[in-house]
Amino acid sequence: MSQTRPSGRQATLVADVAARTEAASKVYGRGGSAVTALDGVTVDFPAGAFTAVMGPSGSGKSTLMHCLAGLDRTTAGKVYLGDVDLGTLDERRLTALRRTRIGFVFQSFNLLPTLSAAENISLPAELAGIRLDAARVDRVIDAVGLRGRSAHRPSQLSGGQQQRVAVARALVTDPDLIVADEPTGNLDSRASGDVLGLLRSAVTDFGRTVVMVTHDPGAAGYADRVVFLADGRIADVMTEPTADRVLDAMKGLTR
């Protein structure tokens, strides 16, 4: 797992912040059955950096991603995308923001089964009423290594290929933030490597900002930083992670 890390990452470390949370809390339910998924999380996600989010199951990683991506709202505290406070946006603006400024990759079921790969990729842009030029879609498809498969339906693609299409879709609108929740959770190590490499190069080569949840210390090794969550709180932040250091840190968290 000692892949050479692309050298561009140091330069982007102290640049401005793409997204951040301020004492963000999320409580599900009420009264006795209330679950605190996020408990006063304050964290910055620097622009042009690849941040991995790790932590035990149930620690609030997905919740944090949903809040960052404008899919869900916090119950207390604030979430900023650039300098926009997501809490102040209504449903309509949040939706518009999602399709233009945020890219999202889920663990599975990222694609509409009825649309081809190319159509899935241009979906957010089309929903926004923007006609993407074909050359651009082709470039992205090339970048994710799916030339020749653009007319295929998701059911005709492997799991890894489907995830690459999802990454391509997240990239194509040049979003300010790409949020990925266990994008390699269902993939074998080779396919994982392809997807992680793509996310890495989105940061290195195109200057995008990526926040990715993962359980795999190896995957975290692709990131510039790792944020550790435990019980809805920030437990640790590690820069220049390696698989071994991440593994150690994880052991500390799970006890």
Partner: protein, 841 residues
């Protein structure tokens, strides 16, 4: 059936009850309609039976003319000589015999307006012997003088008449009378929707028969212990030729049987056709809903199989599920059928086809039939799906739920195309060869072919629509179009239900327009008069009005001809027919029909059927039993309001001294002051109870409108089928939305707004509805063309007319209905929280 299957099935039903609501509603509506129709039929049968049984309750025998010229409910027989009464009275076994004279009379109320109602304006003779008279006086007393009358309580109430009131009755000539008594019929205020006027025998003879030497019939009460047939035999021996005696019970049975296989049979068949259509559409909806529900349960079924359920157990579970649903829906439907019967009765009355019924009769047998039909239709409609679903391989439990792709068969589009093409060719062939059987069978085949072809048509239409829809809606439309394409069979069968309904509506619209156009054209060309005096509506029932009106109108200055035309019954070439009675010379001035004195005029349709032409000689048997052979003097294009035979009045009146007229056609002299003529004619019409006077254009319009009354009833009957079809679409969509929670959530996550999600579902609804509506409309216009040319080739002279505005309206309503059907599922989809969708499963 094994206990676990039953238990799992029933639990599952309860668990999925929300998804099954649509299925329940389809069964419910179909059965409610069927039950309503059965109830309506039973109510009519009961009303008619009761009416006749009451009429003849104490009558042991009836003596009447032996000549029958009418088939159907109206017993039209000629009068018999009053001298027969003495012979009857002296026959052995006769306790009492009473003569009666019958006819029609319209009552004027205290306010001077005619008392109108839902049935004939009957008039007869008051009989003192209570056993022979179904009427009972509840206020006042029996008539004593010829100008005294007893009337039914319903008319008395409506006309504010009490014993002692004086008023006018048109019998049909106006008579000033005193109401001496008010009577009820078998405890009811009236005999169905008919009114009743009873004179003394002398009065009835004078006003209703115009002949004091004649009576209509004689009713007989037997001595106690005398059997009906020996009484009939004893009386029969004493009767002259041309007069017959029948038993009272026998007469009742005959009358009921005549109505049962005459009007009632037609009416019930008419109703049953629409119940069948509603059930067919319901079956298509049920089939579709069930297949969607079953597709959503593939995994659960597979799990059952993994756990060891046999295929047959799975199948039994599914069939049981359908049967239980069918039973629950049917029982609820039967319960609602009572209200449906009442509603139908109201709808009929609202459309000018009133049924004189009190309450609604609902038999246990009908309820059981409706429930049985409901369960069977449900099980049959779901059977193919149940078989397919029971074949789910256990492995499906482990793999992701696949999209329903039940349209994969390659043979299906080929077979569908073949059947459709053969059906369409057959329909056209039948239309050209004027064979209604060939046309009908081939039309049904075309429909079946289109249903088989459905998925292929649907896929093709969705692709075409995809190419067609551009602009800002592009993504929404495309996603919707892809959703249609993923299971074209499902969309096609949702659309097929609508197609059937719309095709029928469009077909009747075309036929209606064609009939209207031909009536307008034919009547417009044939009628050369200027004014028409007619009964105008139900006030006179079948009875017509006094011929004096024609005589008096003819005397108005400026009137060239006033042709009084009546309607009667005669046997022509051996069969009972309704005929038009007119003076050929006068008629030739008002219509382009010149038969000449003493000659018949016959419609081309009838002439063609019998191979007659001008100069052919035809036997006509009149109500008095005599037969004459008349030459045909003219052929004409059939048109309302004329019947297929016109009998010359001079010949007719020798056999029917009291012929009434139903219309007077007026031709003014050139240069006459039409305003003054009209005013004078209107004033005469007013003296006969306010007859309607219409100008030429209005007369044509009214006649055309009269021909369309039935059409409006047809539309109402079809409306339910269309509603069921629309609900089916709504239901299919709702289930599809439930199936696609994750996809919708994904769409929202990648930036689709609520409005966009809503529009995607709406597009899908619109595509489905448009498919059903457009194919239904095309099919309906084609059927309409085929049927109207079938009749036109057989001499009907129909014009083929397409009511474009109405057709456009049908398409528009279909599209709107699609949007309405889509609105609830679309709103549900739009409300979905993207996170819930991502988290689900």
């Amino acid at each position: 059936m094994s206990a676990p299957v039953v238990r799992v099935t029933l639990r599952g039903l309860w668990f999925r009850r929300r998804r099954l609501v649509g299925l329940f509603v389809a069964v419910f509506l179909g059965v409610a309609f069927l039950a309503g129709i059965l109830g309506l039929s039973a109510t009519m049968t009961d009303a008619i039976d009761t009416s006749y049984q009451t009429a003849n309750r104490g009558v042991d025998a009836i003596v009447r003319s032996g000549t029958e010229v009418a088939s159907g409910a109206d017993e039209i027989r000629g009068p018999i000589p009053v001298s027969v009464l003495d012979a009857v009275r002296s026959a052995p076994g006769v306790a009492d015999a009473q003569a009666e004279a019958k006819g029609a009379a319209t009552i004027t109320g205290a306010d001077g307006k005619l008392v109108t109602g839902l049935g004939p304006r009957d008039a007869g003779t008051w009989i003192a012997d209570a056993a022979l008279n179904p009427w009972r006086i509840v206020a006042g007393s029996a008539p004593r003088g010829p100008a005294d009358i007893v009337i039914d309580r319903a008319s008395a109430t409506a006309g504010h008449l009490t014993p002692g009131s004086t008023t006018t009755v048109y019998a049909p000539d106006p008579v000033r009378v005193t109401v001496t008594g008010i009577a009820t019929y078998g405890g009811q205020d009236a005999n169905g929707g008919s009114s009743y006027v009873a004179f003394t025998l002398a009065g009835a003879q004078r006003y209703l028969l115009g002949d004091s030497g004649a009576v209509s019939d004689i009713v007989v009460r037997a001595d106690t212990g005398v059997a009906e047939d020996s009484l009939v035999a004893a009386i029969g021996a004493a009767l002259p030729d041309g007069v017959e005696a029948v038993g009272g019970r026998q007469a009742t049975r005959d009358q009921i049987a005549t109505v049962d296989d005459g009007f009632l049979k037609f009416f019930k068949a008419f109703l049953d056709i629409f119940a069948g259509i509603a059930l067919l559409v319901a079956a298509l909806s049920i089939h579709n809903t069930f297949s969607v529900v079953a597709a959503g349960r593939a995994r659960e079924l597979a799990l059952l199989r993994v756990l060891g359920a046999r295929r047959s157990q799975a199948l039994r579970g599914l069939v049981l599920e359908a049967a239980v649903l069918g039973l629950v829906g049917s029982v609820a439907g039967v319960a609602a059928g009572y209200g449906m019967a009442a509603g139908l009765k109201g709808a009929f009355a609202g459309l000018g086809l009133p049924l004189p019924l009190h309450g609604v009769v609902f038999t246990v047998a009908d309820a059981l039939i409706a429930v049985g039909v409901g369960v069977v239709v449900t099980v049959v409609a779901t059977l193919s799906t149940a078989v397919r679903a029971s074949r789910t391989p256990p492995l499906a439990a482990l793999t992701a739920v696949a999209v329903d792709t039940s349209a994969a068969s390659r043979a299906r589009p080929v077979a569908g195309l073949a059947v459709t093409a053969a059906g369409a060719a057959g329909t056209a062939f039948g239309a050209a060869g004027s064979s209604d059987v060939v046309t009908g069978v081939a039309a049904v085949a075309t429909l079946v072919g289109l249903i088989i072809l459905g998925p292929a048509t649907c896929a093709w239409a969705a692709r075409a629509a995809g190419r067609f829809l551009g602009g800002a809606n592009r993504v929404n439309a495309r996603i919707a179009q892809r959703n249609v394409l993923r299971s074209p069979a499902r969309v096609a069968s949702a659309g097929a239900a609508l197609m059937v309904g719309v095709a029928l509506v469009a077909m009747f619209a075309v036929i209606g327009a064609s009939i209207s156009a031909s009536t307008t054209g034919t009547l417009g060309a044939m009628f050369t008069g200027d004014l028409v005096v007619s009964g105008g509506g139900s006030a006179y029932g079948n009875s017509g009005f006094s011929p004096q009106v024609a005589t008096r109108v003819a005397a108005v200055p400026g009137v060239g001809t006033a042709a009084g035309v009546g309607t009667g019954q005669a046997r022509i070439a051996g069969t009972a027919q309704t005929v038009t009675v007119a003076d050929p010379v006068a008629l030739a001035r008002a219509f382009t029909i010149a038969a000449g004195a003493g000659r018949l005029a016959v419609s081309r349709t009838v002439a063609e059927e019998h191979g007659w032409h001008t100069g052919s000689r035809v036997d006509v048997t009149f109500v008095d039993g005599r037969t004459e052979t008349l030459p045909i003097g003219a052929l004409y294009r059939p048109t309302a309001p004329l019947s297929d035979y016109i009998v010359p009045a001079d010949v007719w009146s020798a056999h029917n001294p009291r012929q009434l007229v139903s219309a007077v056609y007026v031709v003014t002299t050139p240069g006459a002051d039409t305003g003054a003529v009209r005013a004078a004619v209107t004033s005469i019409a007013g003296e006969y109870g306010g007859l309607a006077v219409a100008g030429r254009a209005k007369f044509v319009d009214d006649t055309v409108a009269g021909a369309s009354t039935l059409l409006n009833v047809v539309y109402v009957m079809l409306a339910l089928a269309v509603v069921i079809a629309i609900l089916g679409i709504a239901n299919t969509l709702a289930l599809a939305v439930a199936e696609r929670y994750r996809e919708i959530g994904l769409l929202r996550a990648v930036g689709a707004g609520r409005a966009q999600v809503r529009r995607i579902i709406q597009w899908e609804a619109l595509l489905t509805a448009a498919l059903g509506t457009v194919s239904g409309t095309v099919l309906g216009v084609f059927f309409g063309w085929a049927l109207s040319s079938t009749t036109s080739n057989s001499g009907g002279g129909e014009v083929f007319a397409v009511p474009w505005v109405r057709i456009a309206l049908i398409v528009l309503i279909g599209a709107l209905a699609g949007l309405v059907a889509g609105s609830r599922p679309a709103r549900r989809a739009a409300r979905l929280d993207p996170l819930v969708a991502i988290a689900s499963e």
